[in-house]
Symmetry: C2
Subunit: 730 residues, 2 copies
């Protein structure tokens, strides 16, 4: 590992603090807001904490999940607004034949003409959050074995979920908090009839595309309106012409005045996963080994795809989506590595660690910490060797063979005993994944990519003799000809065959999968054993840490885990690099500035015309300067800087310091009164490390300004009927 | 041509003005400063205009030329400071064997150890500027033919220069102003013994390399110290151990306090070429045809080099320099095209044109304008067809053959009658260019690049039957084998052969060159005829324009032409794009921030150590905020924005609105007292269009801050003896 130096370029002040919680840091459980009165006051949030904490009252009862994104109700008739990229499936589902709503956008001419978003589309409304720690951990205390503990907890979780889902209107899940210190049951009402109401063209909704992904200044109209429908009796039901709009318990008013620099904001939603409370050792492992190793592998794969694509057009087509997905991951990995290069986050954490170590001295939990450290180290070492072992099996058809054989083996168990992903409820997705190979596979490319992984495996010391033997037998010259798995129908047919048939097969890849199965299963079991032990050790430490923070009078938010959270922030620009300041608002003119006519910078003519003709409607603002008395809101930089932005235009996107992560896409951004002023849709490149460390100087979320949404509706798309359904306030 | 729309994103105010001169626009002849009292006062320039206008007084008598760059004296002992990239040759000349001063930097341990910069290095001190319009134009009025006029003016110029250079201590040149309205003789004392005193490593002097070229924020220590030496009697002489330091008539004091945002600055130097006074038609031709066409050609060539290099390492090596040069031109061309896309400069010029047309109405010069327009249109049309015709002859060995045959033909004339480039004084350079081919040529690559140009020629209508016939005969399969020109010695041997020998040669490329010669000569003659006519027509119009401006009480600077000029500006950041503000100063920490260890971001360990240890010496500044009363200096944006930059560090580079162009590299940047505060070395990407139009909102020059130079000397390189030679003031 490279020597680490304790220096930090952009925020020398951050060096001085050993506190884990900064100004706007925190993805809070709603009930925790009761402990945050002073922070709410500092950001001029006027809604009482009591109201914010209540999931049955607005604004929180207006916040809904999409499974992978967040949305919010904006009318009593079940109208919902979320990101364009969250409604991608709904738009694509309706784009076929003569209609290309992806390219042209879609606006229902009235409510009767709203389109089904497809049978898979769901809205989830959280109506109950219940502590089920006792049930989940029942019987686990007696168990010595990590593997048995893991299996028991899995069984208990499944039982709790099964009980909850007795009412088919609900989807339930059990989430662990603080690494297993607490388990909560989440009950969500499932809306099954979701319809597409209004979506801008992709050239607005995803203006800037992958190039602008994670970037700012940004000019994305990343919004779409959907509507929830239910049966006439009000119960959730699949799509039917007879269904009626769902009447939500609450919905958000929209403040057409929007926000100014320095204004406080609230962001509510379902952030997916963060690692803020992980050990510094876990951060260092990721920063120094995991991310660089993954980045090198993805870059190798991207280069190989580029090289073969240059001479082989079929490969270019088949691997376009794969390459785009690698490129997206590379951008995130590069953001992490650049971030760690610019700010030595482990060094920042070490000072907190020292204080905590001191607190633990002489306490029994000190032993828990060293035990956890040891477990983490073992787990990391296992991960490292598994990384190469698993990758050395990365050939797409071998992966299919291994999954199919495991599918057959799991079928031998009772459904509840099967591994996740191999249960009856997974059948459809499993089959779909097998089918998808058809369009995303080319034997020449697959061989090159697989060989890269084999070379990487052979170049290191952690070897498995069975795998070595199998790899030695590999004959690429005949492999892709001899296997039956290249054929879509034959591949699917294996799903219905018993394990014995695999074991007698002469297909070289099936043979290989069967041979590798015991080793893979053993590694999977070892992994579960580690997880079982960690689920016991980590909560002990987390409890000590919570006690420590409590002794300092500081509330602590749990790491994100896909549950409903609230973040508090303020509108602010940031110092992106030496001498480079990014201002908090972008304007319509910036769309014109970036427009080249070439995707993804191909703004629609109707948008350009409205900009060129200065048809700004009522949404232009002479300036977005915060009043002088708010100067102290502007964070590490003098407020003047954030304010000095010339305006006289319609804001398009804006930045805030709200604490978000993946899953917060589509989250409502609210002003201090809980009125909708924007939609969260991305973070800046410099913020990518925030999953590990919230650096208040540079961590910014990117939001669509509600004034841009309203401007599109009124000045560009003439969505008058829809505008009238909204409750606009000032 | 695409339809142009009148819109302008970043500077709507610019739309309202029809005036050619903005706040800090102008590359003024020193004597013009007498007309600029109010502008000097506005920028708080304290030196009297009278003094600035006097080439025999400081600061202007401290400004020297390097032929392609600018420098300035900074001690009474002939010490000179310029850019690292301007002293590149001097450093490279001394880097061989055990010394790699390019990589390590160089600091003479005392004056006696200064190194000769090589026999080619020169410093030019302008001591006389004289109006020679009458002599140059003598006899030209009677001539009807453009070609004869061109030839006569050339002869007259040469005669004036010859008279001036009778004293071998001087180099003389005759420059035309306002397209030939005036001709001035420049007499420059030539220092022939130049020595290398102090240069930082390339990793400081060119930190960021080509990647950061034209970019900002910038962190380049682009400075080097040289010293002028003369014979003991004070006369210029070639290098000799007996030579002594030259004692300049004046030198610059150095203000170690540097500048703050909003401060006025002066930049003096030898800007090369601008086109501000050209017709809007000439701008449109460049923006809509010339630049896109050149860009497409360079991109095609870069792509071809990349493609062949990927599989052929020898090609990668041979064409690395060629590709780098294309890439540099591409960056400039892209800057021009991006600039024209963002700001419709022709539309801005059209409003001025209208006012001028109105002024001309009924005046005899109205006809001069339409005549000029016609000449320009003809000249452009000729240029377009010549472009493809010339490129179709771009094979490197054919070019060599054509040059060699022309060399032989020109040898038949008296030396004074030969075309520029083919006179006796050009022999060395001509031979060197032939030799250089050896390392930069590969037949496979040459064929691909040439074929691209042939294809482009064949795809358009302007054809030459002789060229067509020659191309039809081209046989690439045997060409490179049959020709003698691929061999270095044989190629050079052709330089000494008479034309007749070419005409009897069986070398296929020599035959082709002989066949193409009459056509190429005819086109060259036509070009000269155009230039002759333009040199008559353009001055008539320029005179009318000068009268027009004078009637408005506005001084007018001539377009840059390599003569000594002064620009007035102020320190300022700029709005680089929507929501993206670039602050005026960069800091040491930015070097650390960009450092990856990989060239060109490989800062030396000694620099990084000084930064990490905060060894800022006396050069750190708590802030660089201009006092409140200077708020109105900060241009289009509120001053607060420029000021709000947090500091407490040593400034590295800074921005000013001074009007510069190529040739201004190394120019002294002076404060209002004429004290040295920085060295000019580049412009921002957004400024690239300034050769056509000075947009005060975004045009910024990039300077090395003198505090960074002093910091390197005192805190990093311990150049105490050299520091003591400087006159530091506060």
């Amino acid at each position: 590992m490279p020597t680490r130096k304790l220096w930090q370029v952009l925020t020398p002040l951050a060096l001085l603090t050993t506190l884990p919680l900064h100004a706007d840091e925190g993805q809070w459980l709603p009930h925790q807001l009761l402990e945050l009165e002073s922070q709410l006051k500092q950001r001029r949030i006027e809604i009482p904490a009591q109201q914010l904490a209540d999931l049955t009252k607005p604004p929180m009862n207006a916040v809904v999940g999409l499974g992978y994104c967040t949305a919010s109700f904006v009318s009593p008739q079940g109208l919902v607004v979320t990101n364009h990229h969250c409604a991608y499936g709904a738009i694509q589902y309706n784009s076929h034949g003569e209609h290309n709503y992806m390219e042209d956008g879609f606006l229902a001419k009235d409510q009767a003409h709203e389109l089904s978003a497809g049978p898979q589309e769901r809205l989830y409304i959280t109506d109950k959050v219940e502590d089920v720690t006792t049930q989940v951990l029942e019987g686990s205390e007696q168990l010595e074995s990590g593997y048995e503990r893991y299996q028991l907890i899995e069984r208990n979780r499944k039982a709790v979920i099964q009980g909850c889902e007795a009412d088919p209107a609900y989807r339930c899940s059990v989430r662990d908090f603080h690494g297993g210190l607490k388990y909560y049951l989440l009950r969500q009402l499932v809306i099954r009839d979701v319809r597409l109401v209004y979506a801008p063209p992709e050239s607005v909704g995803a203006y800037g595309g992958d190039i602008d992904n994670f970037e700012y200044p940004r000019h994305s109209g990343d919004f779409t309106f959907l509507r929830a429908y239910v049966a006439k009796d009000g119960s959730p039901a699949p799509y039917s012409e007879d269904n009626v709009p769902y009447q939500p318990a609450g919905y958000l008013n929209i403040n057409a005045e929007g926000v100014r620099a320095g204004d406080g904001v609230l962001v509510a939603g379902y952030p997916g996963r963060t690692s803020r409370h992980k050990l510094t050792e876990e951060l260092v492992f990721s920063a120094d080994w995991l991310y660089p190793t993954q980045a090198a592998r993805y870059q190798g794969r991207i280069d190989a795809i580029d090289a073969l694509s240059a001479t082989t057009p079929e490969v270019a087509v088949a691997y376009a989506a794969t390459k785009a997905s690698y490129a997206n991951r590379m951008k995130k990995l590069n953001g992490l590595l650049d971030g760690f290069r610019k700010t030595d986050i482990p060094a920042l954490k070490v000072s907190r660690d020292r204080a905590f170590d001191q607190y633990l001295q002489g306490k029994p939990e000190a032993q828990a910490l060293s035990h956890l450290r040891q477990l983490v180290a073992e787990s990391q070492s296992d991960y490292q060797s598994s990384f190469y072992l698993n990758n050395a099996q990365s050939g797409a058809l071998l992966s299919a063979a291994s999954s199919l054989y495991k599918w057959a083996k799991e079928q031998e168990k009772a459904d509840a005993e099967r591994d996740a992903g191999y249960q009856e409820r997974d059948r459809k997705l499993f089959a779909a994944r097998l089918d998808r190979l058809e369009r995303r596979f080319d034997a020449r490319m697959d061989q090159v990519l697989w060989q890269q992984d084999i070379d990487a495996y052979l170049a290191q010391n952690q070897r498995d003799p069975v795998l070595d033997a199998q790899l030695a037998k590999l004959d690429f010259d005949t492999l892709y000809v001899k296997t039956t798995l290249g054929d879509k129908d034959q591949r699917r047919a294996w799903m219905d065959k018993p394990a014995a048939e695999f074991e007698q097969s002469s297909d070289p890849l099936i043979q290989m999968a069967v041979a590798l199965y015991p080793g893979n299963e053993a590694r999977s079991k070892a992994r579960k054993a580690h997880l079982g032990e960690l689920s016991k050790a980590r909560p002990q430490l987390m409890q000590a840490m919570l006690d420590w923070y409590q002794s300092q009078g500081r509330p602590v938010y749990p790491d994100a885990n896909g549950t409903l959270r609230i973040s508090i922030g303020h509108v602010d620009g940031y110092q992106a690099a030496d001498a480079l300041y990014k201002q908090p608002f972008t304007r319509l003119e910036g769309i014109r500035e970036k427009h080249t006519g070439i995707e993804p910078f191909n703004a629609p003519a109707k948008v350009l015309a409205a900009i060129d003709e200065h048809r700004f409607g009522q949404y232009a603002r002479p300036n977005l300067t915060a009043p002088q008395e708010q100067a102290w809101y502007c964070g590490f930089l003098p407020c003047a800087q954030a304010d000095a932005q010339p305006f006289g235009s319609v804001p398009v996107n804006f930045l805030s310091s709200a604490d978000t992560t993946g899953g917060n896409s589509g989250s409502p951004v609210m002003n201090g009164k809980g009125e909708l002023v924007g939609l969260n849709f991305d973070s800046t490149y410099e913020s990518i490390t925030k999953d590990w460390y919230f650096n208040p100087a540079i961590t910014r979320a990117v939001h669509v300004d509600i004034r841009y949404v309203l401007w599109m509706m009124s000045e560009v798309d003439n969505a008058q009927w829809l505008l009238e359904e909204l409750t606009l306030v000032q």
